[in-house]
Assembly symmetry: C2
Homo-oligomer: 386 residues x 2
């Protein structure tokens, strides 16, 4: 039996392991220290009551013979797809058919598995810095990657690929830089993909943080996007579902990939948890919307607090508006890892070193608005004293 | 952009669609008919109270700030892995490390995704008849398949592959034939795999139906299996979790594939729903065990009822003991599809035509013990009147 050598040769995920290792080493040496974690990309606010009520009801349905249900459709229940179409797309002028929406257990699985739609020799373009899964799943498939640097010099907005790219991963609002694209900027990518017969995998996991009316929430707000774009969405950050596990992916029929994705999902996926789907549907009720909006407002205020605090100390910061992440330039003389060590050792604050997201992340660290509010306030006071 | 041509060329899943189409056509022509569905491989009994209690508690944890949690480990929580090791393996003399157990959202995903561990040119051996996902995921990966016929002549026990097989999919208790392997029979497969450096993907989704003490519940009860076998398990049928979504896969370190699977899961999977994992853990409490056992006994009695009823009418039946499926030879002069039509048209009973599971399934239909008990009783009466 031959191994998948691409997978075998992949190195261990260095970034988060290394953060944990360094933090644990510090903690071991200083057991009394109160460490403040400002790097985490995970939500911290509890689920709103209307959501947990819906989950309790779903659990009760499974507890009784007359309401019990087993397997749902692999591609998700029609009532959830319809709610997504009516609440997330129609108000933005985007019309989708139910068959174009696939409910998932979160963006992570689909961002990895979508890779199976394509043949190995395709060339991939990926933003640098970026979420590591785009790179890793492309390497596992044995594909060649062109990295598109996002630097202060280009406002962290990537330029079009130099060599023809077949598959393009875009993530806006961006993780880790917090940068967003305007309609005009995103139109260039759709035009490029149409001209080059490329496919864009558009990761819009942080869409709920957009406030500026000129920023598109969905790539399908852009003319021609249905022919060339797959959009991956998630309730993880918009509704706090990182433990619940629910998201969705749009594969438009015009992309020519819809039937293939349906076939893939029906073969290798047995559907999303019924409780998670009922929880997701509850986010669209007036009470559910109010609850999730309150949590989003909380995170947005945390972002503002971090931005203001860091700027007042003279740090150069990007993102943080329309996005939960703040991309902070490290002071002269530091690398992203040496600044990480400085903050950990000298004020017990944990951030995420930018170099872990790719070479162009060097010189930056990421702060997360999902962090505990009180920890952020205390971290800013400690950092002021440095 | 180039498509995955293997995936593109795959035909639609014919079997279940065709059953639905023929049943709906009959229903449309005979709106008053009470159709009895005896083919379904999905559970019908509600979740026991100790399980739903655990789910309610998990939901409540997510509802409050001090107990809220976000992402869990991609490979699952240690408390669930430990419970699996202590309840499903240790009593059978199998010792596993926590790092060898990967919690999943069900067997379906893992049975498909495990294919990524291997290189394309590997040769695959698959039982005929079998669950369609083994064949489909192998075809998607572009691999050559040798089918191993399971016929009355060999007691539905497959012979070893004629050509060297690199990857072998085994499913025991078998779907659809309901046949099980003894320790001695399974030892031959482990020996074959060790001699040929093959890997066995052992689907034990129906393990909970085993009653005979000479039938192994886990492939790791067989000497040497840790070197050559991955075992896929599920709470779907043992605890009625087809809507909840939870299972696990064992990838032993001795197989040389453990680190690769960990890397795959950490890249393309964001972990199993917290609520599902708490539900799974509750199946191991004394109350949870009692509740799931009661449901299993119910299904086993249904299997017995179907076996006895069919045999009394002169049908030749296999399986049904140590397994939830009854593999029934169709009467002389029928094909599996013409007998399906006969039962549908003449007594409004729906079964699953064996030919849908592969060419060697021709001449048989599958009845399922997961079907509603009253429907089974009525179906037997109607069939007697044919």
């Amino acid at each position: 039996m031959l191994h998948n050598t691409h997978l075998q040769q992949l190195q261990g995920s260095y970034l988060f392991t290394e953060i944990v290792n360094r933090t644990q080493a510090y903690k071991a040496a200083h057991p009394q220290a109160k460490i403040l974690r400002l790097g985490v990309g995970d939500v911290t606010r509890p689920l709103p009551l209307p959501i947990t009520d819906a989950m309790h009801r779903a659990v009760e349905e499974l507890a009784h013979l007359d309401t019990f249900r087993g397997y749902g459709p692999e591609e998700g229940y029609a009532w959830l797809k319809q709610a997504i179409i009516e609440h997330d797309y129609r108000p933005r002028g985007v019309e989708l058919e139910q068959e174009e929406v696939f409910i998932s257990d979160g963006a992570g699985s689909d961002l990895g598995n979508l890779s199976e739609l394509f043949d190995t020799p395709n060339r991939v373009a990926i933003l640098d810095p970026s979420y590591p899964a785009y790179v890793d799943s492309s390497l596992m498939a044995g594909r060649e990657i062109e990295f598109l640097p996002c630097l202060a010099a280009n406002g962290f907005v990537p330029e079009l690929p130099k060599q023809k790219a077949d598959i393009i991963y875009l993530c806006f609002p961006n993780n880790p830089t917090g940068v967003v694209l305007t309609r005009t900027q995103l139109q260039q990518w759709v035009d490029y993909a149409r001209a080059n017969k490329s496919i864009i995998i558009f990761d819009a996991a942080y869409e709920a943080f957009i406030e500026d009316p000129d920023i598109p929430h969905s790539i399908y707000e852009i003319e021609g996007a249905k022919e060339v774009a797959i959009e991956v969405r998630s309730y993880s950050k918009s509704a706090g579902f990182t433990a619940v596990r629910c998201g969705w992916t749009v594969v438009p029929k015009a992309s020519g990939l819809n039937a293939m994705w349906m076939r893939r999902q029906c073969t290798k996926y047995n559907g999303t948890s019924y409780i998670a789907q009922r929880a997701a549907a509850a986010t669209y009720t007036p009470e559910g919307k109010a609850g999730t909006q309150a949590n989003l407002m909380h995170y947005k205020h945390t972002a503002q607090l971090l931005m203001n605090g860091l700027q007042a100390m003279g740090y150069e910061v990007f993102g943080g508006k329309n996005a939960p992440y703040i991309w902070c330039r490290v002071p002269q003389g530091y690398t992203s890892w040496s600044f990480f060590d400085h903050l950990l050792n000298d004020c017990q604050v944990v951030c995420t070193p930018g170099a872990g997201f790719g070479p162009s992340g060097e010189g930056y660290v990421r702060f997360s608005a999902f962090s505990n509010r009180k920890d952020c306030e205390e971290a800013l006071i400690r950092m002021k004293g440095l």
